[in-house]
């Protein structure tokens, strides 16, 4: 099969070919770049929603409920669920899919023709997503999925990689994860457009909601449109859910849709996406530069002990900067 066949069949919604193309992208196969280049004009219709948060807060269960809710609303849904790869063996246990509702629940999302679920190992990349997650999202987008949900690795305080792919960022929290100082720390809590307090039937949910709402009311760096003084602002939401029982899911889905409407209306979507395209281009270029330098420096003479001098020589002699 050539590139053109792949492109045609992905656009036509052939899921087996889509699945193969995703593997090529994940493995950095040269054909993937050509496929991505050619499908690129078909992308941009989907709303990409990132779901991040600490391990065990219920991200995968929320994803399953959101898929179900968006399907009820007539949307097709693609999911990319990232779990950590071992830094020692490269192996991974990808355990997000098993939370997806199957035949044992009323709506079977496993066999739904308009749901595509793909598990990914982070493969050495830090920040909560894999290096190729962005490419996988583009492939799903080109295949025509209306909503694309990206679930990150259980994230700590500083992992904000999801911003590289998501139009809308959801940060999932649960009660008893800390006090009002924790909610005011920099990092992951700055990136949410929507905050979810899952397992909100547990004690402590009200406190967390109060702290979060107060913190957000102080927020001056809201997602205001860059370069425009009177731009409309997005009012960040706090939504309480009990994902296992489906509570709060409708409200969450509404907020997700409202956020996309806001992004489109205010022009923020275009700005955000242009910025991401630039970042992605830089990333692709950097990757090639890194590979080239590594290749050229394979026989590097260690004539100096300190790394600074060696690096300087690499820059001067080898790359002639």
């Amino acid at each position: 099969m050539n590139v053109q066949d792949f492109v045609e069949r992905i656009k036509r919604g052939d899921r087996r070919i889509l699945a193969k193309a995703i593997s090529f992208a994940e493995n950095g196969h040269p054909i993937a770049k050509e496929i991505l280049r050619q499908i690129y004009d078909k992308t941009g219709k989907a709303q990409v929603v990132g779901i991040t948060g600490f391990p065990g807060t219920g991200k995968s269960t929320l994803v399953s409920k959101l898929v179900e809710e968006f399907r009820k609303r007539g949307k097709s849904v693609g999911v990319v669920a990232v779990d950590p790869s071992s830094p020692f063996t490269g192996g991974a246990l990808l355990g997000d899919r098993l939370r997806l509702n199957g035949a044992d629940v009323d709506k079977n999302l496993w066999t739904d023709e308009r749901v595509f679920f793909r598990s990914m190992g982070s493969r050495g990349r830090l920040g909560g997503i894999a290096k190729k997650t962005g490419d996988v999202v583009k492939l799903l987008d080109a295949a025509g999925y209306d909503m694309i949900l990206v679930e990150t690795v259980g994230a700590g305080q500083g992992e904000i990689g999801i911003l590289e792919v998501a139009d809308t960022a959801i940060v999932v929290l649960m009660p008893e994860m800390g006090d009002d100082i924790q909610v005011n720390k920099a990092g992951i809590l700055e990136i949410g457009d929507i905050f979810v307090i899952n397992k909100s039937d547990l004690e402590g949910a009200e406190n967390l909601e109060r702290w979060l709402s107060f913190t957000l009311s102080l927020d001056s760096s809201d997602s205001a449109e860059k370069g425009s003084a009177n731009a409309e602002r997005w009012r960040k939401r706090v939504i309480k859910t009990v994902a296992t029982r489906g509570e709060g899911i409708k409200e969450l889905a509404d907020a997700i849709t409202e956020h996309f409407e806001f992004l489109k209306r205010s022009g923020t979507l275009e700005i955000k996406r242009a910025e991401r395209t630039k970042m992605m281009a830089l990333e692709i270029a950097m990757e090639e530069i890194r590979a080239e330098i590594t290749k050229r420096c394979s026989n590097l003479l260690l004539d100096s002990k300190d790394p600074y001098t060696i690096a300087e020589r690499i820059l001067k002699d080898i790359i002639k900067i």
Binding site: R16, R97, G102
Partner: protein, 138 residues
């Protein structure tokens, strides 16, 4: 070397997955990407997951005694959904009576691992067989 992706599946009315979880863990440590389906999946669900996740290996763990009707159904659905079960390595593990092993192999299963099989043997088999299939599928 491309990463080996494995789907570990539990089918039907079979509530015992300690073995499946242990295998998943050992395969993870062997450097594979392992997706576990969780309990009570239908043949359709497993077939769909095989295609969407584009796995190299399907490992079915089964302790219920229903391997003869269930395993071939999974392979049939893979075909029905536009996939090709011959492209992947299919292994079955669990309490399989010896006389059923040839029957499973006849319908496309590459290996059956009964209780007591050393994990190193399973890993070696998977690595060898995946390499073979990848050569054939080129």
């Amino acid at each position: 070397m491309e990463k080996i992706r494995v789907l570990i599946a539990k089918l039907g009315l079979d509530g015992h997955d300690r073995g499946a979880k242990i295998i998943a863990r050992f395969l993870r440590d062997a450097g594979f990407e392992v997706i576990y389906t969780g309990l009570h999946r239908t043949p359709q669900e497993v077939a769909r997951a095989v295609i969407d996740e584009d796995v190299d290996v399907l490992g079915i763990s089964i302790l219920s005694g229903a391997h003869i009707p269930l395993v071939p159904r999974v392979l049939d659905f893979i075909t029905q959904y536009g996939g090709d079960p011959n492209e992947i390595v299919v292994v079955v593990g669990g309490t399989i009576p010896t006389e059923d092993i040839p029957k499973l192999k006849a319908c496309g299963v590459d290996a059956v691992f009964i209780p007591g099989t050393p994990i190193s043997e399973i890993i070696k088999f998977i690595k060898q067989k995946v390499a073979e299939k990848r050569r054939d599928n080129l």
